[in-house]
């Protein structure tokens, strides 16, 4: 049996010490009728060698594509040192740092992370992570509802230009409580959010930057507008972009109150969807409302610097039903990787990754604008993602390019029924000139092929 070290000699000695004849006796308090007699079959055990063969073939089945899909999970180069160091046993197999003296490595790392993330967001404080971006947004909303004493309507305004899956998760979580979501439409020309339809007051406004379409929103005007209405402002942002783009703490006259989002772009691989981590930062007025763990610096009995989990009285293990959140386990390992990544890249490096990604997309956009049968949607300023609209079925386009081992992008029709035949395309610094030329070439050939076939053209577009 893998990982169980007991020899027969050990087992016998232990049973003797306890005073029972065999291990089954130790289960004698469990009612007989509950004991499983025969477990229905599950696959028999594999050795590590056999498992390796199986998993290698499964992994191979999923590889080989050059991917241009973004939509909340981004491919960036991760220096080897990041996961080499993160995979050290002392980081990988450590637990929650409740015994602070035995966890100074993790705790100091988290303090450094909190500093970097808060600063990246232009805000005062950060927590030590939540599960991922969408749940971080949900927690930010719950936090705003708790914190905003000046508007207790519990109405939250969320643009439709926020990631559709984020909005679904928010709905799942806030629908358990009496919180009303008001959706903001977007301008069909610019792809930016359109506040003209909002008449009522509200507790908080969510502003994405960039938004799901890759468009940059008018964050200053939106922030000031919300603050004038006594609402709090929650920025949901791409943290890598914030090395280049103005962060939430610097929006409008007074800055956004809360910033949240997905930390994956900073040193975490796409890894089929997770694990990632959510970040949550805020102005210092709201620090006691921050859910999740927070690390603080203090001193020990000898006056030496040390780190501890602090403000724990707000958490579930102490406050129970009145806790700021039910969260216990967070995403510590991913924060470890992210902190090492940020330290390796430095502020200039992060900026350069963001710029390289954007410039690569810009190159692609310029080439695509010259093709017929496709146009680039939305006239505003974009950042590293764009929306293309085709004169043909986008599903067919994706399928055709897939044959050339290219994942062309994400179809948006399912999420935005009015945006017919649209594709969200992302480019990062990982794409070489050859990759980009190949994309253009493949797309051009696909469009030409469909142009010839009378059945592919969609009328009226």
């Amino acid at each position: 049996m893998p990982f169980i070290p007991h020899t027969e000699v050990d087992t016998e000695a232990m049973l003797r010490e306890i005073g029972v004849a065999n291990i089954e006796n130790l289960f004698d308090e469990i009612p007989e009728n509950l004991r499983v007699k025969a477990l229905p079959p599950i696959p028999p055990s594999l050795t590590e060698m056999e498992l390796t063969r199986l998993m290698k073939s499964r992994a191979a089945a999923d590889s080989g594509l050059t991917s241009f899909i973004g939509a909340g999970a981004y491919e960036h180069h991760i220096p080897a040192a990041v996961w080499e160091v993160t995979s050290r046993g002392e980081f990988l197999t450590a637990y929650t740092p409740y015994q602070a003296e035995a966890s100074q490595g993790t705790l100091q790392l988290l303090y450094e992370y909190q500093t970097m993330m808060a600063s990246l967001m232009g805000l005062d404080v950060s927590n030590a992570s939540l599960y991922e971006g969408a749940t971080a947004l949900a927690e930010a909303i719950l936090m705003a509802v708790r914190a905003n004493r000046r508007n207790t309507s519990h109405r939250i305004v969320i643009p439709q230009s926020v990631h559709p899956y984020y909005r679904e998760v928010v709905k799942t979580i806030v629908s358990q409580l009496k919180i009303e979501i008001i959706e903001l439409p977007f301008h069909p020309d610019t792809g930016q959010c359109d506040i003209s339809s909002i008449a009522s007051d509200f507790t908080a406004l969510v502003i994405p930057q960039p938004n799901f379409f890759g468009q940059l929103e008018e964050v200053d005007a939106l922030t000031d507008w919300a603050h004038e209405k006594n609402a709090l402002v929650i920025g949901v942002v791409n943290p890598l972009a914030m090395s280049l783009i103005k962060p939430p703490g610097q929006w409008g006259k007074n800055g956004a109150d809360i910033a949240c989002g997905e930390g994956q772009p900073l040193g975490v691989p796409m890894a089929s969807g997770g694990p990632y981590y959510g970040f949550l930062c805020c102005k210092k007025d709201w620090v006691r409302q921050l859910p999740g763990r927070i690390v603080g610096r203090t001193v020990d009995k000898d006056g030496k610097q040390g780190f501890v989990l602090t403000l724990q009285a707000r958490e579930q293990h102490i406050r129970r039903a009145k806790a700021t959140s039910n969260i216990c386990t967070n995403q510590g390992l991913l924060v470890t990787a992210s902190t090492i990544y940020m330290s390796l890249l430095g502020p200039m490096g992060l900026r350069q990754v963001a710029l390289a990604s954007h410039q690569n997309l810009r190159w692609l956009k310029d080439k695509i604008e010259n093709l017929s049968g496709v146009k680039v949607l939305f006239s505003g300023t974009f950042f590293h993602e764009m929306v293309l609209q085709f004169s043909y079925s986008v599903t067919d386009i994706i399928e055709e390019m897939d044959k050339q081992q290219i994942a062309a992008g994400l179809s948006l029709e399912h999420f935005y029924p009015k945006l017919k035949n649209t594709l969200l395309v992302c480019v990062t610094e990982t794409k070489s000139l050859e990759d980009l030329e190949q994309y253009v070439d493949c797309l051009q050939k696909t469009l030409a092929k469909f142009a010839e076939s009378p059945f592919k053209k969609i009328s009226g577009e």
């Binding site: 004493r149 724990q312 009285a313 707000r314 102490i318 009145k322």
Partner: protein
């Protein structure tokens, strides 16, 4: 032994009350602050807001607990102890004096106040809680 001044009244939930004319001063008892440990933060009600008998109106937070303070009376908050925002440990050092939490003008006077515990009754209650 924790002190229980005889001039004050008490609630079952470990608050003390002092009456001066039509104003009541409220705090938490010596027993309560001992159980909580060093206070790190106190969240007080808003001045001019109303508090309701038996309902949560404030929170006292230590490293190991965040306890609700229940209002022993219904009334309007007329003053809060702002010194506690910078120095929450005043509650530990002087729970019946400098560590007062807030002052209330009650809506109804005699009736509710007489339902509160005397020092003797409170001492008995605390003794029975210990086991």
């Amino acid at each position: 032994m924790n002190s229980v001044p005889t001039k004050l009244k008490y609630s079952r939930t470990h608050e003390w009350i002092r009456q001066d004319d039509d104003v009541l001063t409220i705090g938490i008892t010596d027993h309560a602050q001992t159980m909580l440990g060093d206070l790190v933060y106190v969240e007080l009600p808003e001045p001019e807001s109303n508090v309701e008998l038996g309902h949560e109106c404030a929170v006292v937070e230590s490293v190991k607990a965040a306890a609700d303070v229940y209002s022993p009376i219904s009334g309007e908050v007329i003053e809060i102890n702002e010194a506690l925002l910078e120095n929450p440990q005043l509650v530990n050092e002087d729970p019946y004096g400098k560590g007062w939490l807030f002052r209330v003008r009650p809506f109804e006077n005699e009736h509710d106040f007489n339902k509160l515990l005397t020092a003797e009754q409170y001492t008995k209650q605390v003794a029975s809680e210990a086991h």
